[in-house]
Amino acid sequence: MSRTGWHEHDWQLIHTDAQSPAMHMALDEVLTNEVSAGRRRPTLRVWEWADPAVVIGRFQSLRNEVDGDAAAGHGIQVVRRISGGGAMFIEPGNTITYSICGPLSLVEGLSFQQSYELMDRWVIEALAELGVAASYQPLNDITSPAGKIAGAAQARKGNAVLHHVTMAYDIDTGKMRDVLRIGREKLSDKGTTSAAKRVDPLRSQTGLPRAAVIERMIAAFRRNHGLRDDHLTPDELGQAMRLAEAKFETAEWTAVVP
């Protein structure tokens, strides 16, 4: 298999109504599998959140990362995603999240670092058009001179790569620090952590409403790589609902790394 370019694929856009955190986790897994199996064309999915959530990485310890009582007290669900990386604190309207479910050939032969850089490039160009001097910062951040903007995580499944990104639009850092445990070792090299890095959200940097930022990002993807409006099929939606219930809503999965 040799590496393919963005333009060699017929990219589809999915931007649906708000979904529960567990459904978002399930949709990532289902759509990545569908792309891997060749049943779905490569897809950009923009998320809308129905509920606040803490999303922990595949390999993070639940009890080391999350104050379960504080999360419950704030009415915040804790879900575990299928990709590695750090915990994200999500409130609807405060976050812009999207997934790219692409063919593995897009990142064939690239190091992990190169593949993050490649997958983030279009959004960095989109942010530049909004006046934000964003750049990729290894290993998996998007940052700006004023602070961190976003974190990315990738997972490779079969013949597909999942690259999802959570961008801070606005953020309640007080509530975030209540819910996420941030250890000393994590702060050892940069004085910051994925969740607590000096975040400067897009609201203050762009002065635009959240929906306008999303619209401009989608337009930039469309212009750079081509993009056709699509929807979830009934089969995909059914698979995701079953997977959300059987896996992502279960304590067994959320505490798979206790």
């Binding site: 390999f59 310890s61 299928i82 590695g84 992990f112 995580a153 997972a155 070792e185 994590k186």
Partner: protein, 126 residues
């Protein structure tokens, strides 16, 4: 001809004939170690020392690992190793378990080994 009995032939160096002897009053409290390579990701190790060897090893952190199922390979590679094996031995065990089929991003086998050493030495963080 002198009949020599090798004390190490069937026993650990501490004289245990099996790991089970650790169950008789030698099991440690849960131990916890963390390590973050500069510019890298955090690796956390929780374990118990039983009969001088690591048991119930759980590696976690905000690193990346492909495939995700390889996390169990790492945990299993460390279980049963001596609590004084040292960073090089643990790093080799992790690297060997991962082989060519699995890749770490953000941490290294040595980083996992350093977190193990911090756990057994009771150094959760510097």
């Amino acid at each position: 001809m002198t009949h020599v009995i090798d004390p190490h032939a069937n026993a650990d160096e501490d004289g245990c004939l099996s790991r089970a002897c650790g169950d008789y009053g030698e099991e440690s409290m849960p131990m916890h170690g963390e390590y973050k390579e500069p510019g890298g990701k955090l690796v956390v190790v929780d374990l118990v020392v039983s009969g001088g060897r690591l048991s119930d090893v759980r590696v976690s952190g905000d690193f990346f690992l492909e495939p995700d199922s390889a996390l169990d390979l790492i945990n299993r590679a460390l279980v049963g190793t001596r609590a004084d094996a040292g960073v090089d031995a643990w790093a080799t065990a992790v690297r060997t378990a991962l082989g060519d089929g699995a890749s770490l991003y953000g941490i290294s086998a040595e980083g996992v080994a350093i977190a193990v050493e911090r756990a057994v030495n009771g150094e959760a963080a510097p």
